[in-house]
């Protein structure tokens, strides 16, 4: 079976299965609240989507930080996937990645221009990861003040016996921007619960504008959101160099023709840097290379041919 076909099947399953609580769309719509919600999936899939049965990594990390808790569990869960597969879940199962792939294909069909993104766009995703997923929720935690005395409310922690300050949880600042939240959480929740319409204001409008801009961009750019804005991809990509799954380029076969780059959904030059944080491990380049220079391997393989790790740019 062809790899691209397998990948499409995998992306379809990756879109349906994490959102398979179809009951939520029935007569008495209620978000899924079962045990699977504890599973932090290594994809950008909004847990506020009515039928989502797993948790979003970006949302989970923000939520733990907003509660003043170190997100050991959420980081461990995403890290476990990253360590094994690097960023492969971005290439193979993420619904938002899939949407971008589909839209770009549609853009080609209707002959829209292909706008290439500069390499520096990839720094953006780290800024979003650090700024809005980590620092934002932390900085917005505020102490709870007693209205009458004007002082911070303290209580005795029953576990430690120490006096501690009560606080208002921080804000999930990335979620306020996230277009996947708008698409998967915002629109369906408002459709299913018309009473929410009264609560909608400037934030909803802003999120819809962001979503609209991204949906337009996806038609003309290759995965702009993944490359410049996604904190989940930013985190997973950090593991590409040390994950079990590795890619290798045989420099004795590579002619630097760049067929791999043209076929790549994120326009990455794999022949220069096979295990870069930018690569989504989709494997499109392996099929595109006419010289069989690119291969999948693992970090423990001892290669008997003259394989060389090309110098990273």
């Amino acid at each position: 079976m062809k790899r691209s076909f397998l990948r499409t099947i995998s992306q379809i399953l990756g879109t349906i299965l994490p959102n398979a609580y179809f009951k939520a769309w029935g007569g008495n719509p209620q978000i899924y609240q079962g045990k699977l919600k504890a599973f932090v999936a290594p994809i950008l899939n909004c847990y506020a989507c009515p039928s989502a049965c797993v948790s979003c990594p970006a949302g989970s990390v923000q939520h733990f930080i907003a509660l003043k808790a170190i997100p050991f569990y959420a980081l461990g869960m995403i890290g476990a996937f990253g360590i094994m597969l690097g960023k492969a879940t971005c290439g193979w199962i993420c619904p938002f990645g899939f949407l971008q792939d589909l839209e770009f294909k549609l853009g080609r069909k209707i002959k829209l221009p292909h706008i290439k993104l500069p390499k520096w766009i990839s720094y953006g995703r780290y800024i979003f990861l650090i700024g809005l997923v980590i620092i934002g929720p932390l900085l917005t935690i505020v102490p709870m003040i007693d209205d009458e005395t004007g002082e911070v409310i303290v209580y005795e922690n029953p576990e430690t016996g120490k006096m501690e300050e009560l606080f208002e949880p921080g804000l999930t600042t990335y979620c306020k921007f996230c277009p996947q939240g708008a698409l998967q959480g915002g629109i369906p929740q408002v459709l299913l619960h018309p009473e929410l319409k009264e609560l909608l204001g400037r934030l909803f409008t802003t999120k819809m504008i962001f979503l609209g801009i991204f949906l337009l961009a996806f038609l003309m750019m290759k995965r702009p959101f993944c490359r410049g804005f996604c904190p989940v991809g930013a985190f997973l990509g950090l593991f590409n160099k040390v994950s079990l799954l590795q890619f290798s380029v045989d420099s004795s076969k590579c002619t630097k023709c760049r067929l791999c780059t043209y076929s790549c959904p994120v326009e990455h030059d794999i022949y220069k840097s096979p295990n870069s944080p930018d690569c989504n491990r989709c494997g499109a380049c392996i099929d595109a290379c006419k010289f069989g220079a690119i291969s999948v391997t693992n970090i423990f393989s001892s290669v008997k041919t003259e394989i060389e790790e090309p110098v990273a740019t």
């Binding site: 708008a182 160099k241 393989s301 790790e309």
Partner: protein, 55 residues
């Protein structure tokens, strides 16, 4: 060209892989022990008004 017997990946990367496997396992176990993650994440998903765009 590197010599043909050479390993594909440097030792530090293999070491980092093993270290990170242990670290992730530790993080997950410690996280579960520390907090009721199931309840926290379920509540997070119900209460994520920011996802929807309210607030």
């Amino acid at each position: 060209m590197k010599d043909s017997k050479k390993r594909a990946f440097p030792l530090w990367r293999r070491g980092a892989f093993l270290f990170l496997v242990a670290l992730a396992a530790l993080f997950i176990a410690h996280g579960i022990e520390l907090l009721d993650v199931e309840e926290i994440l379920t509540n997070a998903s119900i209460l994520c008004l920011s996802c929807i765009g309210i607030g």
